[in-house]
Subunit: 99 residues, 2 copies
DNA sequence: TATTGACTTGTCAAATTTTGTCTAATATAT
DNA sequence: ATATATTAGACAAAATTTGACAAGTCAATA
């Protein structure tokens, strides 16, 4: 689930309108609408508040937020999994003993 | 292997100086130096020429170039593999029959 | 030690991208 | 028609990236 869709789903589960959530996040509804549709990216600083307001796990939300950014990079590529494998390999080199 | 290190290694294997490669890429050596050390990112358009000049596989080089960008996003995170897994899952949703 | 060559570092403005806001447009229900 | 919710488009401000330059380090060697 992409970040924006996830936010939208949580927002609806919590019976909040874009107007209400946007207000709590100090942005206008146009902005939140764009975030939900993936047209714009939420700021990192928004995540704790989003998690709190939407009764979601902050760490999980942050993970999805990061994953979404990565997805944006490779979604058009023909070999996305191969690319991710190269990244995984690099991680293992950098953290050889899983410290 | 990070993109810059990879380029440097290939450059040395091909007995080229930064000056020479930089010139062929129409940039100054300072720029190439930064690219090799990962301080700056090569442009996508540079990759075909790099592959050609360094006798490397263009597609592979491009994969490493993309992987490097992703690595930059998650390298500081405590759960990089988990994040990549979320991305992998999203890919499978988008391309369910491996088209 | 002075010079040369290879590479690195720091700084800066220009160029590009991202961001937030505003206004207007849709859509749906009353 | 009116009201409410959401989306779309346009725009400047803000932030980031980029490329270029000058000056720096370092090693080899004359």
């Amino acid at each position: 689930m992409k970040f924006g869709e996830h936010i939208k789903q949580l927002r609806e589960q919590n019976h909040l309108l874009q107007r209400q959530l946007a207000n709590a996040l100090d942005m206008d509804t146009a902005m939140l609408s764009k975030i939900e549709r993936g047209e714009r990216r939420a700021k990192k600083e928004h995540i704790p508040l989003l998690a709190s307001l939407l009764h979601a796990n902050e760490r999980e939300l942050f993970t999805i937020w990061l994953a979404d950014q990565i997805y944006e990079i490779i979604k058009e590529e023909s070999n996305p999994s191969e690319i991710l494998q190269v990244v995984e390999k690099e991680i293992k080199i950098a953290k050889p003993y899983n410290l």
